[in-house]
C-alpha cells in the first residue's frame, strides 16, 4: 500500500448540528480524540456533520482543505466516517475493495483468513463485518478518521487486536481521529484527549 504524506490537522469551526451548538475543536495529525456522552446526545450526528452527511452550521478543515469548498465525495474520501453498523452491497467481501482484494496484512492483523475476500456477505458475523468494514475503509487511504464505536460488536480479544491495529495505522499515517466510544477503559487505552457531550455542549474530561 502506498503511504502518502498526511494532509494535516482536522479542525471543526463552529460546527452546529442538532442539539450541538457551535463546536470548535482542533485534532492534530495522529491525535485520537475520544467522544462520549449519553445515547441521543449527538455523538454520531457530530461525526455525520464532519463527514458532511447532513446539513449543519459551520465548516471543517483538513490541513488547508476546506469542507465547504471541496466536492462532497472527495471530502468524504479524505475524512472518512466508519459507521457502527457497516453495510455491504455486493455478493462477496472482495468486490467491495477497489483492488478486488483486501490487503493481506490487514486481514492477518485482525485475525481473518486470507480467503475472507471470497466470503459471501450473507455468512459474515457482526464481528467479522465490523473488522472487514474497518479494513475496507482504511484500504481507501483516508487522511482523517471518524470512528463510530468501531469495536461495538467485538469480543474482548478482537477489541484488543482492532485497537492495536488502529493505533498503529493512525500513528504511522498521522491521521487525526475522532473516535466515539462508550467504554471508559477503552477511552483510557486509546485516546490522547477525551471530550464529553453534556447538555448540548462539548467539554474536556
Amino acid at each position: 500500500m502506498s503511504e502518502s504524506k498526511p494532509v494535516g490537522d482536522l479542525e471543526l469551526e463552529n460546527v452546529s448540528v442538532g442539539e450541538l451548538d457551535s463546536v470548535s475543536q482542533s485534532i492534530a495529525a495522529g491525535e485520537i480524540v475520544c467522544l462520549s456522552g449519553a445515547s441521543g446526545s449527538g455523538k454520531t450526528r457530530l461525526l455525520r456533520a464532519v463527514a458532511d452527511l447532513e446539513p449543519h452550521g459551520g465548516d471543517c478543515l483538513l490541513g488547508d482543505i476546506r469542507q465547504s469548498e471541496t466536492p462532497a465525495h472527495r471530502w468524504r474520501a479524505l475524512v472518512m466516517m466508519i459507521p457502527a453498523e457497516s453495510q455491504w452491497w455486493h455478493e462477496t467481501v472482495g468486490e467491495h475493495f477497489d483492488a478486488g482484494d483486501a490487503p493481506g496484512e490487514a486481514l492477518e492483523a485482525l485475525d481473518l483468513p486470507g480467503e475472507a475476500t471470497s466470503w459471501s456477505i450473507d455468512r459474515l458475523s457482526s464481528g467479522e463485518k465490523q473488522r472487514l468494514a474497518l479494513i475496507r475503509a482504511l484500504a481507501r487511504e483516508p487522511r482523517a478518521l471518524l470512528l463510530d464505536e468501531p469495536t461495538a460488536n467485538l469480543d474482548a480479544e478482537s477489541i484488543q487486536r482492532v485497537e492495536r491495529w488502529l493505533l498503529e495505522i493512525i500513528e504511522r499515517r498521522e491521521l487525526p481521529t475522532l473516535w466515539v466510544a462508550h467504554d471508559a477503559e477503552q477511552i483510557k487505552r486509546v485516546s490522547n484527549r477525551h471530550l464529553l457531550i453534556r447538555d448540548g455542549r462539548l467539554q474536556e474530561s
Partner: protein
C-alpha cells in the same frame, strides 16, 4: 362494414352481470361489494363524460381544443402518478417530476408518430392524436409511477447502505446506482411483458377495438405493433427521465441523502 351500435338497455343488461358478481362476493364475504360497485359506477360516469367531450372535440377538430384536452389528460396523469407513491417528494416535486417527464416523453413520441409515421391531415386529427396520446400517457403513467415508487421506497429502506457508500467516498450517483437501475427496470417490466405476450396470452385492447369497429385484422395488427413500439419508447424514456430526476432530487448539492424531502402519503 357497419358497426352494431349498443343501446343503453343492452348495457344495463351487462350491468346485471356486475350485480351478480357483487351479490356473490357479498355471500363469499370478500368485503369488496362497495368498491366493486363504486368502480363500476365510476366507469359509467367517467366514460360517458369522456364520450361527450370527445364528440365535441371531434366535431370541432381544432388544434387548440385538442391541445387543451391533452393538457387536462396530462395533469390528471400527473396527479395519478403522485397518488400512487407511498413516499413522495414534497413541495410539488412528485407532481412536477412525474408530469414533466410524461410531457417530454409521451408528447414528443406522439407528435413524432403522427407526423413522421401515420401522417394524417392535419397532423393533429383527433381521431388519431387523442387515442394515441391517451394510450401513451396511460402506459407512461404506469411506468413512471412504478419507477418513482420503487425509487423512493428503495432509498428509504436502504438509507444506511447508501450513506455507507457515501462515507467511503462514492459520488451520489454511484451510491444510489443499483436502486436507480432497479427502479427504471420495474417501470419497464410491464410494457416489456405486454410486448412479449401480445397476441398469445391476450389480444391487445386497441387491436380488438379496431376489429370490432370493422377494420380488417391485417391493418389492426399493424396499428397494434406501431402502438406497442411507441408505448415502449414513451414509457422507457419517461421512466428513465422521472427516476433520474427523482434520484437527483433525493440528494442535495453536497451529495447528502435527503430523506426529509420525502413525505409519507396520508391516504
Amino acid at each position: 362494414m357497419s358497426i352494431i351500435d349498443l343501446s343503453w338497455w343492452e348495457l344495463a343488461l351487462a350491468s346485471l352481470l356486475v350485480l351478480a358478481l357483487a351479490a356473490t362476493s357479498h355471500l363469499a364475504r370478500l368485503g369488496m361489494v362497495r368498491s366493486l360497485l363504486v368502480a363500476a359506477a365510476r366507469t359509467v360516469i367517467q366514460l360517458a363524460l369522456v364520450g361527450l367531450v370527445l364528440e365535441l372535440v371531434f366535431e370541432l377538430g381544432r388544434l387548440r381544443w385538442i391541445a387543451l384536452m391533452s393538457v387536462v389528460m396530462l395533469l390528471v396523469a400527473g396527479r395519478e402518478v403522485m397518488s400512487r407513491q407511498k413516499y413522495r417528494l414534497s413541495g410539488g416535486w412528485a407532481f412536477g417530476i412525474g408530469t414533466l417527464s410524461m410531457f417530454i416523453s409521451a408528447f414528443s413520441v406522439t407528435i413524432l408518430t403522427l407526423i413522421v409515421i401515420i401522417g394524417p391531415d392535419p397532423w393533429y386529427m383527433p381521431q388519431y392524436s387523442i387515442p394515441i396520446l391517451g394510450m401513451l400517457l396511460g402506459n407512461t403513467m404506469t411506468g413512471v409511477a412504478l419507477g418513482l415508487d420503487r425509487l423512493t421506497e428503495g432509498v428509504r429502506r436502504q438509507r444506511s447502505l447508501i450513506e455507507n457508500r457515501l462515507m467511503l467516498g462514492q459520488p451520489w450517483d454511484m451510491a444510489v446506482g443499483e436502486i436507480r437501475r432497479d427502479a427504471v427496470r420495474s417501470g419497464l417490466i410491464p410494457v416489456i411483458n405486454a410486448m412479449a405476450a401480445a397476441g398469445i396470452v391476450s389480444l391487445p385492447g386497441m387491436m380488438t377495438g379496431q376489429i370490432l369497429a370493422g377494420t380488417p385484422p391485417a391493418i389492426a395488427v399493424k396499428y397494434q405493433i406501431l402502438i406497442m413500439f411507441v408505448i415502449a419508447v414513451g414509457t422507457g424514456f419517461g421512466t428513465l427521465a422521472a427516476v433520474s430526476a427523482g434520484a437527483r432530487r433525493l440528494f442535495d448539492a453536497r451529495e447528502r441523502l435527503r430523506l426529509d424531502r420525502l413525505t409519507v402519503a396520508s391516504d
